[in-house]
Symmetry: C2
Subunit: 295 residues, 2 copies
């Protein structure tokens, strides 16, 4: 890795390249679907999952090459797909996302269903090119990532728990938001050929922290900054750490989870840089003024 390596550009270029591979070919694509797929992916949010995958991969000594790129891109495409389907009228019916119209609001419900489906497919298609190069690692990545979005422990399962009358908060959060965090961390390690167990715990704590931060944002943040309507957990009667622990309790829970995540980082070449990144991310998610408010 040289000084000119830019993690943000690496992530955006990887995503743009994946979309170009299917949307910019000699074959015609239904133009509305093509626009909707790009709209779902660009501009992005914080790209926290692919950045996490990259950070763990680099910390474990992987090169930012095709395998790590496929892992990070796949995870972000699946995250974007889940947002598109999550925003559908039958779920959150969210008119906006990332400060612009949600996909169904901009392109209609049919195209939103299809754009989500096509992004899921693309997330797996990106692995085809990596299999010949490193079959063992590619197979592990495919397992990790499919497990994080499917059943029993992935995003689909997490969402489906919202339709059940009996829900355990931790299991629900682990599946809905945590699973893709765990996958991002584990996939980074897998791309490097590193031991995955510590990264599993690291990803779990970080994922849970992120969900708590999201619950907090839902009650505390400025809607103009957040880019989506707030107060939806209460409006939709969904489980929420902020509702369960109160604002101060949720903040303390968040800080404990971040500390646990830092502790989970094993000895590895990039441990120091990774800890700094986690700390920086924690303050981005839960600003210092929230800590004061909760004290």
């Amino acid at each position: 890795m040289n000084d000119s390596f830019d993690p943000e550009r690496w992530t955006e270029d990887g995503l743009a390249n994946a979309l170009d591979c299917v949307l910019n070919t000699d074959n015609p694509v239904p133009p509305t679907l093509a626009r909707a797929m790009r709209h779902a992916v660009f501009p992005g949010g914080a790209r926290v999952r692919p950045r996490l995958c990259l950070a763990v991969g680099l910390a474990c000594g992987a090169k930012p090459g095709p395998l790590l790129s496929a892992a990070a891109v796949s995870i972000e495409l699946l995250h974007c797909a889940s947002l598109v389907h999550d925003d559908l009228p039958c779920f959150d019916d969210a008119p906006t996302r990332r400060g612009q119209a949600s996909v169904h609001a901009a392109f209609g419900e049919r195209i939103a269903v299809l754009a989500g489906d096509a992004l899921i497919v693309l997330a797996f298609e990106v692995f085809a090119a990596t299999i010949a190069q490193a079959p063992g690692r590619a197979a592990g990545l495919l397992r990790t990532i499919s497990g994080a979005v499917g059943v029993p422990g992935g995003i689909c399962a997490g969402q489906a728990w919202e339709s059940e009358s009996q829900v355990e908060l931790a299991a629900y959060q682990r599946a809905k938001t945590g699973a893709l965090f765990v996958a991002a961390a584990v996939a980074g390690a897998q791309a490097a050929g590193a031991e995955i167990a510590p990264w599993q715990r690291f990803g779990e704590r970080l994922g849970e922290a992120y969900q708590v931060a999201d619950d907090l944002r839902d009650v505390a943040a400025d809607p103009a900054v957040l880019g989506k309507p707030v107060g939806r957990d209460v409006a939709l009667d969904r489980p929420s750490a902020a509702r369960e622990y109160g604002f101060g309790g949720a903040i303390r829970h968040f800080e404990t989870l971040v500390a646990d995540a830092m502790d989970a980082i094993p000895a590895c070449p990039g441990a120091h840089a990774l800890r700094a990144m986690v700390q920086h991310e924690a303050r981005r998610l839960v600003p210092a003024e929230w800590l004061l408010r909760a004290a």
Copy 2:
């Protein structure tokens, strides 16, 4: 292959096993989602795509082992997923499918979106186990199958053409129904390590024939037998060969396509058995009395 090999049981067992791998584990699954996923896959329709994949694989000399099974199962899971999403209120709003309630009618719209998503994910997850065994063939299968459901040429693109004002009938049909037929035939050959070009043409002709037969059924068949409401192409103003060529013209078009498919079958160990299967399938799709009606 010995005398006790039963293609129907092989297909059903493969599908049941794939679902059990994610629904019958030590981890809890949201029960409604689990029921919906099984409802989407069982009981099946004619299982024509996995049977085609198997038939081509066997004709090319493949064993009915893990690789061919993963291909056939993946293709059928993707077909089932596409039916679940296609039946959604924003698309066909079909109350029934295969003679029972459609997934959204039985379990609600949210669970139908999620069951479709989870089946797509599972369709790719089944390849993880085959990669180590035969990386080159697994990579080829992953490309073939993802191409058949995504963009630019797969089912998602085919569906999305329905939302465009300008549609070319052949391109639309190729993407919407044909793509998975082509993939089934090509995947069978890939699992066997055979040349894929002739099977591409074979799958294209057969897929187009199947779509024409579907259009014909839409205007000609008994709804009690078909298991879904008829006349929907006209009601939904969708392109249809029966509307474009008339009943007799569509029948003749179907027969030409089947003959072309038979001609495309290359010299291979199972060519004779495969031709007999295609002929049998053609009469199942377009009964002899329809030929008389069209004469």
